[in-house]
């Protein structure tokens, strides 16, 4: 099994009464709450934490893209990934991703990801999300009715730009380019592994199956609510006759490890309540612009009680002060405990959900660097060895980067401080 370390980069100093005084953490968040001098510290701590995660043995580090959002300070994950490409050596760089419809022309994504793949020696995983409504339609003004059409065209263009050996003309529906000839080219052939972060739509599952991409469900609501979605995914794979290789699937889980469960309850209460109370304080008016979801998904969702319940529950809780830590743990949003307890639960989660690419969120909310590194170290030393062997004896991970062999890797000059 692959164990990956995911950072959202949340702004850690939202005021205590944030949810009462402000309508949304996203889109129209009050810019006066942002202190660039504090953000200087946060970014550097966050990047330390990602580098540390790679050092202590996580298989990969993950970054993602959000806009006008106080729980995600990475409008450009590629900037962070570029730094990580230099400051890490063996970890996979999982950019979960670039929201394809936001780039005009989309070859920009092909170029930047090819740069990352070259700089890192072939360690890139290319994540291609559609992006949330808040990021794409509201912050970036994309037409919700065209978003998916544009996303698919951008995808086709990027993959062709990576694989077509000669310059070509692109006469697409939305993009016209007379000379597509991406330079640099990605190091991995035919291109870096493509992972698709998605919600629970049948169309996305089918598309991943058709293209043979990894589907990853980046849920903030843990394995209990994620189970219905992942079961739907595997049923669809079975229906399509795809082999049930767990490495087809990624899943995100919040985790807090301590020596004992009691200690974990104490250590992670603050950060978890901060995340679920303040960071997920999203205004419903930005959650469902018309056309963002397909009609098929609407039909399925209207019928899916689980999804409805989750949405209602989360919006109701966010309207008040946010959920208590006891409920957060009880619902499975965050898995906490001693290393053995966490390992047992995660083995269960990975098996139940049939996930080979397990992404761990070990920094969440306003968790500071010291606790984050403590969490990462305990996980790496005492949880990871218990999970490592899962799946490997039966399944091959076809969706993992294939970097240059070590002798061919460029040397990175140590400590250049100016």
């Amino acid at each position: 099994m692959k164990l990956l370390w995911f950072h959202l980069m949340p702004y850690t100093r939202l005021p205590e009464d944030f949810a009462e005084r402000h309508p949304s953490v996203w889109v129209d968040i009050d810019s006066r709450l942002f202190d660039p001098a504090l953000a200087h510290g946060m970014y550097n701590e966050f990047m330390d934490e990602l580098e540390h995660a790679a050092e202590v043995g996580f298989d990969g580090v993950c970054v993602n893209e959000h806009h006008q959002n106080a729980y995600g300070l990475m409008p450009s994950p590629n900037l962070i990934a570029a730094s990580l490409a230099r400051r890490t050596r063996d970890a996979a760089l999982v950019v979960m991703g670039n929201s394809l419809a936001l780039y005009n022309p989309p070859v920009r994504v092909a170029e930047e990801m090819a740069m990352l793949d070259c700089i890192s020696g072939g360690r890139l995983v290319a994540g291609f999300p559609v992006g949330t409504p808040m990021d794409t339609c509201f912050a970036y003004g994309q037409n919700p009715s065209q978003l998916r059409q544009r996303y698919h065209e951008a995808h086709d263009l990027i993959v062709k730009a990576w694989t077509e050996p000669s310059p070509f003309a692109w006469n697409g529906r939305f993009h016209k380019l007379r000379y597509v000839n991406v330079w640099p080219r990605p190091l991995q052939k035919p291109h870096p592994p493509i992972w698709i972060p998605g919600g629970g739509s049948v169309e996305t599952w089918r598309w991943c199956a058709e293209r043979d991409y990894v589907y990853s469900y980046l849920s903030y609501f843990g394995y209990k609510l994620g189970k219905a979605t992942m079961q739907g995914f595997w049923q669809e794979m079975a229906r399509l006759g795809k082999e049930p290789n767990p490495y087809r699937a990624g899943f995100l889980q919040f985790v807090g490890v301590a020596e004992t469960r009691a200690e974990a309850m104490e250590l992670y209460r603050g950060p978890a309540e901060y995340f679920y109370g303040r960071c997920l304080h999203v205004d419903a008016r930005y959650a469902a612009p018309p056309g963002y979801s397909s009609e098929a998904t609407l039909r399925a969702r209207v019928q899916s009680q689980v999804v409805q319940a989750a949405q209602r529950a989360s919006s109701e809780r966010q309207a008040s002060a946010g959920p208590r830590f006891e409920d957060i743990v009880e619902q499975g949003y965050v898995i906490i405990g001693s290393p053995d307890e966490v390992a047992d639960q995660l083995r269960q989660v990975a098996t139940d959900l049939r996930v080979g690419q397990l992404m761990l969120l070990l920094q969440f909310g306003d968790m500071d660097r010291q606790l984050t590194m403590h969490n990462s170290e305990l996980f790496a030393k005492r949880v990871m060895p218990q999970l490592r062997g899962l799946w490997d004896d039966q399944w091959e991970n076809h969706w993992w980067p294939r970097p240059l062999p070590p002798p061919l890797r460029a040397a990175v000059r140590e400590r250049a401080r100016a």
Binding site: C137, P144, A284, P289, G291, V302
Partner: protein, 260 residues
């Protein structure tokens, strides 16, 4: 309320479109607002008492499909011209509400011969950041009715599910109409109409509800300033954005009087 005749016409994009028709007299074509025409409204009944009312369904609104094929303004204008011709409404008086009024104005600008006289009820299309048009696509559920109608009950009644309709399909139909409107108007409703208003030669009536919370009534003056031909402004006291639902008689009478 009377029941209109219903027929289907073939259009190049989207297959078939529903056309409702009622009344006798000189033809008057109506293009519906943000939710299209899920049912025949009292406003059209009043118009049909004096005129032959032709109400074709715009792409994506109840009774028609094909909005997802329309990518830019040229596509929309061509689709509406095709629809007007198929419905036998080209060259008639053209009345539009909200998003339908935006398209009516575009048709009048691009194809002068397609419109005799023009009546626009609270059109989108201009955007003044000092007095911005509201974002109708970013509303909490409870905000929708009071935003669109001065009397929210009128809105609820207009959108209420018909007895025999499947609930999910009814919702999908409504959401499709919202999507079609968004496809044309997102994010501010400005598709460059200001640059074309001078092309509108048809005598034009601008009708606004005084309580319009979406496109403020002051936009009537901005439209009037850009229009090329004869312009008249009528404000209807107490009506909201979907003024033809709030004040069907007053709006219909203003339109009938102007088109006479």
């Amino acid at each position: 309320m009377r029941v209109p005749d219903e027929r289907k016409v073939r259009v190049p994009r989207g297959g078939e479109a529903r056309v409702w028709e009622l009344g006798t007299g000189a033809p008057l074509c109506f293009l519906g607002g943000l939710r299209g025409l899920p049912r025949w409204p009292a406003f059209l009944d009043r118009l049909a008492a004096r005129r032959r009312v032709i109400a074709p369904s715009l792409p994506g609104f109840p009774g028609a499909r094909g909005h997802e094929e329309l990518d830019d303004l040229a596509d929309w204008v061509v689709a509406v011209l095709d629809l007007l011709e198929a419905a036998g409404a080209a060259g008639a008086d053209l009345v539009g509400a909200s998003v339908g009024a935006t398209l009516a104005a575009e048709i009048a600008a691009f194809s002068r011969e397609s419109v005799r006289r023009l009546a626009l009820i609270a059109p989108f299309g201009l955007f003044d950041e000092r007095e911005p048009v509201a974002d109708v696509f970013a509303l909490r559920k409870s905000e929708v009715a009071p935003m669109l109608c001065a009397d929210p009950a009128q809105y609820e009644a207009f959108l209420a599910r018909e007895g025999g309709e499947d609930e999910i399909e009814w919702q999908v139909t409504q959401l499709r109409a919202e999507e079609a409107a968004a496809r044309l108007l997102w994010p501010t409703g400005d598709r460059g109409l200001a640059k074309r208003l001078h092309r509108i030669a048809a005598p034009t009536l601008l009708v606004w509800g005084s309580q319009d919370r979406v496109v403020p009534a002051s936009y009537a003056k901005r439209f009037a300033a850009g229009l090329g031909g004869l312009v008249q402004i009528r404000s209807v006291e107490g009506a909201g954005h979907m003024a033809e639902l709030d004040a069907p008689d007053a709006i219909a009478d203003a339109v009938l009087e102007f088109l006479r």
